[in-house]
Structures are given as structure tokens and as C-alpha cells.
């Protein structure tokens, strides 16, 4: 744990975004996680992504449950709204918050314990309801706060720091999200910001539930030989299906790619995702094929990363529920409680 505050002084040429803010304005308190924790890298990637998207921090809500991962919202976006919920209940709180105020940008941070064990049911429903949010699972395969027992995402055959081999089948949250109908599914690695930052940006821009399963090594309890979630193991077995370029509205398109390797996805707000395809036959729009590819490569011991699936025209929860465009939280008493005459009228339509 670091006791001193991060110095306020910064690089004099630190770039400013369209709001006139620097990346430092998107930071939070100094992390109290173990030094070298993958979660801190993810926090840094979130900071960069929101800075680059020019989002005003006070229009962002960050939510989490319980666990090492769920502590991290303190360490980024210090000027955003935050809610640290009950263990595994972040999706329910996020759903509620989103229903009440659809205008905020929601980012939920959870861990493999929080989402794959105690909150698995919550996770499932946030995905199938397509709550408009970024849902990041910081996945390290162990319970770090209780000293390194296997979590539900630990691979069969992985060895713990104390030499115990995991025999229980693992939950692949990305595959599960695909099955549950999530409209945006990605997997990444905390040690690869070049991949992770564009994925977070795309997830923020995506309308609907955008899920990122982010492998995040636990340096204290799961970074040894025999672990399948260590820095070394993930680097050796990382198989990216694509590399992503996010082009927001006015941004210029500058990247050069060999012809035929590019797939372009236009998001609902006109932003463009340019996918440099690394696995030539992979289609980012085919849910069934995506699932098959992930499972096929997993059987071969590889970890598939990148943008795995993005739904063609996603509808988020508000669209499905046909709610008004004004956030419910902004409606006045008269609109929320139109009185007994209006109730009578409504009831009449149901008779």
C-alpha cells in the first residue's frame, strides 16, 4: 500500500481533451491494492479510455460489488458518481440506476468471485436485459482478499500457489455472456493496454450491455508457474482475433491496413469500430461461430481475446421497456403521478 498521494505535478506537455481536461483529471485516489496488481492496469486503461472519449467525469456513474476488483472504482474517475454495493449485487444496482437516469454513462466493475459465484444470477440478468452499461470483470481466477483460494473461473488443472490442483470445471464468463444474449462481448488482458483501451472505448460507445472479461493477474496469489492466469502464461497463450481502432465522430481515420483484413462496424451514434482481423475467418457478428471459436481454442489451451461479438442492431433495456426519453429522475411530480383521472383512463384500456 502506498501512503503518499500521487504528486499533483505532471508532464508540462500533458495533452488536454476537448473538455480541456488532462488524463490526470480522470484519476482517483492512489490504489491500496498490492503493488503490481493487474486491476491497477485496468484502472489506468479506464482512465485513458474516458479521457480519450472526452466524457465529462460528472456524467459517469461507476458501480461495484465486493472484492479486490470492486475496490478499484475509488482509484479512477475521482469526480464521477460511485456506488459500492453488496457482494454480487452490482448488476441490480446498475439496472436500477440506469432505469432512473438513462443519461449517465454506467461502468460496472466486478470480479470473478463477485460475478461468477455470488452474483452469477445478477450477471445473467444484466446481460439478457441489455442494460446500457460497460460491465468489466477483472478476472484473476482466485479469491485474493481471502488469500488465494480458487474462484469459479479457475481453469481445470491450474495449480494454486500452495500446490493444489483445481479439479472443478471453470466458468467462461465471455462464453456465458454470449449464450445469455449480450450484445457486446470482449476479452482482454490487463497487461495489454493497446488492446484494452480501445475495447473499453468501444464498450462505452456501444448501446446495451457491453461485457469485457479482462484477465488480470493476481501478483500475490496467482502469478506463479502452474497458474493459467499469470502474466507469463497469458502472454504465451494470448490469441487475439482482432485489433480494434475506435473512431469517434470527428476523429480522423489514419490507420493503414492491408486490404481485406479490415472490418468496419458502425455504432448507433455514428462512431466507427475498425477491426484489423488477426484471425481471418472470424466474424464478429456471428454469435454461434464466436462461441464455437472460443471453445475450440480453449480446448487447445489458448485464450481468445479481442472484440469477440458485437450485435448488429442492439436494443437496450430502455428501448425494450419503451420508457420516455427524459430520465425518470428528471421528471416532475405531475408527470410521475398524473392523478386518479389518468389512472382511470389507463385502467379502462385494460378492461
Amino acid at each position: 500500500m502506498t501512503f503518499v498521494a500521487k504528486p499533483k505535478l505532471s508532464h508540462p506537455e500533458l495533452p488536454r481533451n476537448r473538455l480541456g481536461l488532462t488524463r490526470r483529471d480522470y484519476e482517483g485516489a492512489v490504489s491500496t491494492l498490492c503493488a503490481g496488481c493487474g486491476h491497477d492496469s485496468i484502472s489506468a486503461a479506464i482512465i485513458r479510455a474516458f479521457f480519450e472519449l472526452d466524457l465529462p467525469p460528472h456524467r459517469i456513474a461507476k458501480l461495484s460489488g465486493i472484492g479486490c476488483s470492486s475496490k478499484t472504482p475509488t482509484y479512477f474517475l475521482g469526480r464521477a458518481h460511485g456506488f459500492n454495493s453488496v457482494h454480487g449485487r452490482m448488476p441490480a444496482v446498475a439496472t436500477g440506476a440506469n432505469l432512473a437516469n438513462r443519461d449517465l454513462v454506467y461502468i460496472g466493475v466486478s470480479g470473478d468471485g463477485d460475478s461468477a459465484s455470488i452474483g452469477l444470477g445478477q450477471f445473467a440478468h444484466a446481460m439478457r436485459r441489455d442494460v446500457n452499461m460497460v460491465y468489466i470483470v477483472e478476472n484473476n481466477g482466485v479469491y485474493g482478499l481471502t488469500k488465494g483460494q480458487f474462484s469459479a473461473t479457475a481453469d481445470v488443472g491450474a495449480r494454486s500457489k500452495r500446490g493444489v490442483t483445481n479439479t472443478e470445471s471453470s466458468i467462461d464468463l465471455a462464453a456465458l455472456a454470449l449464450v445469455l444474449g449480450a450484445s457486446f462481448v470482449a476479452r482482454s488482458f490487463s497487461g495489454d493496454k493497446a488492446q484494452l483501451v480501445p475495447l473499453i472505448k468501444a464498450a462505452v460507445l456501444h448501446k446495451g450491455a457491453a461485457f469485457i472479461d479482462c484477465i488480470s493477474p493476481c501478483v500475490a496469489f496467482n502469478n506463479h508457474a502452474g497458474s493459467t492466469k499469470s502474466y507469463d502464461y497469458v502472454r504465451e497463450h494470448n490469441e487475439a482475433v482482432d485489433a480494434l481502432d475506435v473512431i469517434v465522430g470527428r476523429d480522423e481515420i489514419s490507420a493503414d491496413y492491408a486490404p481485406g483484413t479490415i472490418e468496419t462496424v458502425v455504432l448507433h451514434d455514428g462512431s466507427i469500430l475498425r477491426l484489423n482481423k488477426l484471425a481471418p475467418d472470424y466474424s464478429v457478428h456471428d454469435r454461434v461461430a464466436a462461441l464455437a471459436h472460443i471453445q475450440d481454442r480453449e480446448r487447445a489451451g489458448e485464450i481468445v481475446t479481442g472484440l469477440l461479438y458485437v450485435g448488429p442492431e442492439s436494443k437496450d433495456m430502455h428501448e425494450n421497456l419503451n420508457t420516455v426519453a427524459t430520465p425518470l429522475a428528471s421528471l416532475g411530480d405531475a408527470e410521475l403521478c398524473p392523478g386518479s383521472a389518468a389512472l382511470e383512463e389507463l385502467n379502462a384500456t385494460l378492461r
Binding site: 502506498t2 505535478l9 505532471s10 506537455e13 492512489v30 503490481g36 493477474p217
Partner: protein, 595 residues
């Protein structure tokens, strides 16, 4: 790029920019830490060992360290390094018991020191404890050289000079003051084992304009006039005074004139205000005392009436860049400006003069009539004669004179021991981890956000009323401690051990100034373009590791590192460590002082 060789003492020395910039290489962050822990005596002794005159330099140094200070690159102003040195001197208490003494029995070697200024006194300080029999000559009645004769007392009180010059004279040496040396050959005939010439640059440059010699009593050469003021021969000046010149001597002249009856004192410079040689703070202080500085005026003529000076005629000029790209001053064509005055002080530069060195003495002179001196050993072409200070390479400043003195003392010592003068002893270098616990360091790594503190000044009216009243009052302890906290501790180095690194990015993420990048290796210009943050300043090194596990390298731009140690705090494997780098320059006397 090849991996950085941190075993080369120069590598980390350059990172301590203040120390690297100091001609005497004073370990600045080390003494600032000592001040911060209120160990003023220790801070003073560390300074004394390295720059010999902490109290004097703490008031008058040209401070090459401050423009180099890293803090000035991430914030408005550098640490007030110079004035902190004065804090050490002001609060040190009695340190006399810590000073070295000459041994009871000498080593039988005799050395003559010509001129008792900072260069000679440094040689004396370094050689006396080794048992040398020293003879110190000066034409002035007291030791100190230009420190005593040229620096006005309102900047440097006499007691401070007496104290610090006294520390050296008390080491034991023969002094012959009031006796100018008139012949080098005669001095050589006295068979000294070595002779050190530190007689300064004693001649003020004159302006040979029409009317210069009509009323010589009203036109004075700056440094001579300052010396007359210093020794009490001059106590007043006319009401209207023009000072010609834009260096520090001009600033001392105008401010002295202001205190001796000059009510309407004006500084006039040929070129632009920005091009003036005077230190910015000296210009500021002159202007604060109500002295205007007029620029782009070239003196043409001294005007007289009835045998007395009436004023100076100036031509108005402007700076233009010629076809060859060089800047030159061209007349604007406007009518000349006549400025009335009662006295003129000419402070347009200083020259060396060696009328007393016979050209057949074995000392070669170059085409500018300057002695040929080896820059490293300070030896002239006569093996027994050494030069230092302004006498060696023209007018510089006190801290350069001290640096020359140290080198000359080493040379003289080696010469007298029969060793090769060209071979130089290495500096003492020490690199030690500062880790005390998981996240505890033996230095204060929390960065202060305070802006530079201003040294309190005496009230203008009181300051102007008395030429011996010191203007700067110095930091009090509270201000001094707060200013000391502004130091980044750049000597506490970030040391990287590649084989321990797991490339988790924790250091990159936490670094407040984005110094650290993990990327593929390349040539320096290519690498500089690919770093997390711009690294344009090629004078600031890149610290490059060997290949890491992923085939990438760690590249750290030293330029803006705050030395806050957060990279090391957030490093899970100890690949980063904060290690204190202490470099002490070699000195002729090893038992120099009791630190």
C-alpha cells in the same frame, strides 16, 4: 539503444542536474536534506568541503544550479538552492571544532599563492591540512579578493567575509598583504615548489569616447569605484548618475550609487534588456530600488561645459538580424538622446592584465594575451606555475574560481609528490538503497506543492539609507524548511533491474510525469518518438534496460522524473529501487574536514 551503463559515475551525476551544473559539483540535494532535518552544521560542512564559502556563496553565487533545477521544468520556479545554502550558514552554530588543522610538522613543500581571492583561498584550504608551507600575497590590505573589493556590503556583509576567509587563514599560512607582486621571474627565483596565480581580472574595460578625459573625476571605472567604496575611500556620488553596462558589476554600481547620494540613477545598456548579462534577480532588485534600465542606447560622447561633465549623448539603435543570420545593432535614425548627469560609472566588462609576468618566464601567452592554461590541471606551460579563477580563463564567478582552486590544489599536490599531474583521482561515488520497509524510504518522497518562497527583504527606505545594511534578510527557519521541502531529491535514483521485472505496467501507470515506457528497442531518435510522453530534450538521458521477457525494453526519460519513488512503491518485485547517489569530488586533502 544499448542498455544504460549506470556504473559510469557520470550517468547518475547528470541526473542530479544541480550538482552537475555546479562547477564545484556540490552535492545539493544531500545538503538540502540535511537542512530539512535541521542538521544545519552538517549541511554547512558538506558545503564547506565542496565550495569553501557557503555563507558568501549563499548570498552571491551566480547559481548555475538553479536554471538546471528539475523543479523548474514541471513548475514555475526552481528550488531556491542558493538561499538555502545561506540558511545552512546562518543556523550552523559554531563549527570551528570541525575544521581541519595544519599538521604540527609540515611536509617541507613551499607554495606561493598570488592574490588572496576565492581561487587562491581554495588552494590554501585544500593544501594547508596536508602540511604545505603556504605564502599568500595580495596587494590589498586584507584577504578576499573581489569578494571583498567588488561585492557591495549590502549584498555581502563584511562579517561573513571575515568569518569564512578567517577559517582558511586560521589553518596556518604566511600572509603578505599590501605587497603587490611585480615580477614573476623574481618570484620564481625564490624557489617555491609551486606557484598559484589567482589574481583575478583586475582591470575594468574603459570606453574611449570623445570627452572621456575632460573631467576624469566624474567618470569612474566600475570595479575600481566599487573597490574604493568597499575600502571606504569613496563615500558619496552626485545626485544624477548614469551606469553604462548590463552585467552584475553594473547592477552593483547602480545600487551602490543609490545608497551614496545618487537619487536619480539610471542604467543604460547598448543592446536589449533581455540580452543583459546580469542575473535576472539582480536586475529585478535594482529596478525594485527605483533604478530604471534603458536599453538600445549606444553611448557616443561625454558632454562637458566649463570643465565639468554635463551628460552623456546616446545614439538610438535597434536589433536586426543581418543576412548572415547574426544579430547586430543598427541606428534607428531618430535624434540622439542627451542624458544629463553628474557622474558616470563605466561597467562594460573586465580584462585580465599580467604586466608583472615577464614573457620570458617560461609561461606562454596566447594571441589574446592570456596565459596558456590546461583546463583540467590548471597548469601553465611552466610546470610549477598554475592559474585559477578569473586569472585563468577570464572573468567568470566565485564558484568557478573555487572549482579551479580544487583542481589546481590536486595538481600541486601531485606535482609535489612527484606524481603525474595529468592523472586525476576519481570522485568518491556511493549508491545505496533507501528502502526501509515495504513502502518506507529513508528520504521524504512526498512532493511538496509549494511555490518558491521569496527571501524577506529589508524595507526599502532602511536599505537605501545605509550602504552596509544587508538587503536580504535570509529565510527564517520556517521558510527555509518549507523551501527545502520543494527539493525533489534528484540524487535518489530510480535504479532498474530488468531480470526482476514482470512487465505488469504498475510503474508506467503510477508515474505522475509519464517517464516510463515499455516498448520495442530502437535507435534513440526513434525511441524518443515512441515514448508515453514527449521526450524532446536530448540533453536529458534515456535510461534503457536490456531486453525483458517479452523482448521489449524499459525506457525511462530522466528529464521530468520527480524522484517520488512511486514506481518503486508500486513495483511488486523490487525491479525498481530508489538508491541514493552521492558523488563527492576528489580534493587534495583527504582529511579535509570532519563531516
Amino acid at each position: 539503444m544499448l542498455p544504460t551503463d549506470i556504473r559510469n559515475p557520470d550517468y547518475f551525476h547528470k541526473v542530479v542536474d544541480c550538482q552537475w551544473a555546479c562547477p564545484a559539483h556540490t552535492p545539493v540535494p544531500e545538503y538540502i536534506r540535511l537542512i530539512a532535518s535541521r542538521r544545519y552544521g552538517d549541511a554547512y560542512m558538506l558545503n564547506w568541503q565542496s565550495n569553501v564559502f557557503p555563507g558568501i556563496l549563499g548570498r552571491t553565487c551566480d547559481r548555475p544550479c538553479e536554471p538546471a533545477c528539475r523543479r523548474g521544468r514541471v513548475e514555475k520556479e526552481p528550488v531556491a538552492i542558493c538561499r538555502l545554502k545561506r540558511v545552512a550558514a546562518d543556523y550552523k552554530g559554531d563549527i570551528r571544532h570541525r575544521l581541519p588543522r595544519a599538521p604540527v610538522r609540515g611536509n617541507g613543500k613551499r607554495v606561493a599563492l598570488v592574490g588572496a581571492g576565492p581561487a587562491s583561498l581554495t588552494v590554501a584550504r585544500d593544501l594547508a591540512p596536508e602540511g604545505y608551507d603556504l605564502v599568500l600575497f595580495d596587494s590589498a590590505p586584507a584577504a578576499g579578493g573581489m569578494i571583498r573589493s567588488q561585492i557591495p556590503k549590502f549584498r555581502l556583509p563584511e562579517e561573513v567575509i571575515d568569518e569564512e576567509v578567517g577559517y582558511i587563514l586560521d589553518l596556518g599560512m604566511e600572509t603578505r598583504f599590501g605587497t603587490p607582486i611585480t615580477s614573476m621571474n623574481a618570484l620564481l627565483a625564490e624557489n617555491y615548489d609551486a606557484i598559484f596565480v589567482g589574481c583575478g581580472a583586475p582591470r575594468g574595460r574603459d570606453l574611449d569616447l570623445p570627452g572621456r578625459h575632460v573631467a576624469p573625476g566624474q567618470i569612474h571605472l566600475g570595479i575600481d569605484w566599487l573597490a574604493s567604496v568597499a575600502f571606504g575611500h569613496v563615500r558619496e556620488i552626485g545626485r544624477r548618475v548614469i551606469v553604462l553596462g548590463g552585467g552584475n558589476t553594473a547592477m552593483d554600481c547602480c545600487r551602490s550609487a543609490r545608497r551614496l547620494g545618487g537619487q536619480d540613477v539610471t542604467v543604460v545598456v547598448r543592446s536589449g534588456f533581455a540580452e543583459m548579462k546580469a542575473s535576472p534577480w539582480e536586475k529585478e532588485e535594482a529596478m525594485e530600488e527605483g533604478i530604471p534600465i534603458l536599453n538600445f542606447l549606444v553611448p557616443k560622447e561625454f558632454r562637458h561645459g566649463g570643465g565639468t561633465l554635463q551628460g552623456v549623448l546616446f545614439e538610438k539603435v535597434a536589433a536586426e538580424r543581418g543576412a548572415d543570420g547574426r544579430r547586430r545593432l543598427v541606428p534607428t535614425g531618430e535624434p540622439d538622446l542627451m542624458m544629463p548627469c553628474d557622474d558616470v560609472l563605466i561597467a562594460v566588462g573586465q580584462e585580465n592584465a599580467f604586466p608583472w609576468i615577464e614573457r620570458d618566464s617560461g609561461i606562454d601567452f596566447d594571441r589574446w594575451d592570456m596565459p596558456v592554461v590546461n583546463e583540467r590541471t590548471m597548469q601553465s606551460t611552466h610546470p610549477k606555475v598554475f592559474f585559477g579563477g578569473d586569472a585563468a580563463f577570464g572573468a567568470k564567478n566565485i564558484i568557478w574560481a573555487v572549482a579551479h582552486g580544487h583542481e589546481a590544489a590536486i595538481s600541486i599536490d601531485r606535482l609535489c609528490r612527484g606524481e603525474d599531474v595529468a592523472e586525476r583521482p576519481p570522485p568518491l561515488v556511493n549508491l545505496v538503497s533507501q528502502k526501509m520497509g515495504i513502502h518506507e524510504w529513508s528520504y521524504d518522497n512526498e512532493i511538496s506543492n509549494d511555490l518558491r518562497y521569496r527571501v524577506p527583504h529589508r524595507e526599502h527606505e532602511l536599505a537605501l539609507a545605509d550602504i552596509t545594511a544587508e538587503v536580504e534578510l535570509g529565510f527564517d527557519e520556517k521558510l527555509g524548511l518549507a523551501e527545502a521541502e520543494r527539493c525533489f531529491n534528484c540524487d535518489v535514483q530510480t535504479v532498474f533491474t530488468g531480470r526482476l521485472c514482470i512487465e505488469c505496467d504498475a510503474c508506467t501507470d503510477i508515474c505522475p510525469t509519464d517517464c516510463i515506457t515499455f516498448t520495442g528497442n530502437g535507435e534513440e531518435t526513434d525511441l524518443r518518438r515512441r515514448l508515453t510522453a514527449p521526450a524532446h530534450d536530448v540533453t536529458q538521458a534515456l535510461y534503457v534496460s536490456g531486453n525483458l521477457k517479452t523482448g521489449r525494453v524499459m525506457v525511462k526519460d530522466e528529464n521530468l522524473c520527480l524522484h517520488c519513488g512511486l514506481c518503486a512503491e508500486r513495483c511488486p518485485t523490487g525491479a525498481w529501487d530508489m538508491q541514493r547517489f552521492l558523488l563527492e569530488m576528489p580534493l587534495a586533502s583527504h582529511a579535509c574536514c570532519n563531516l
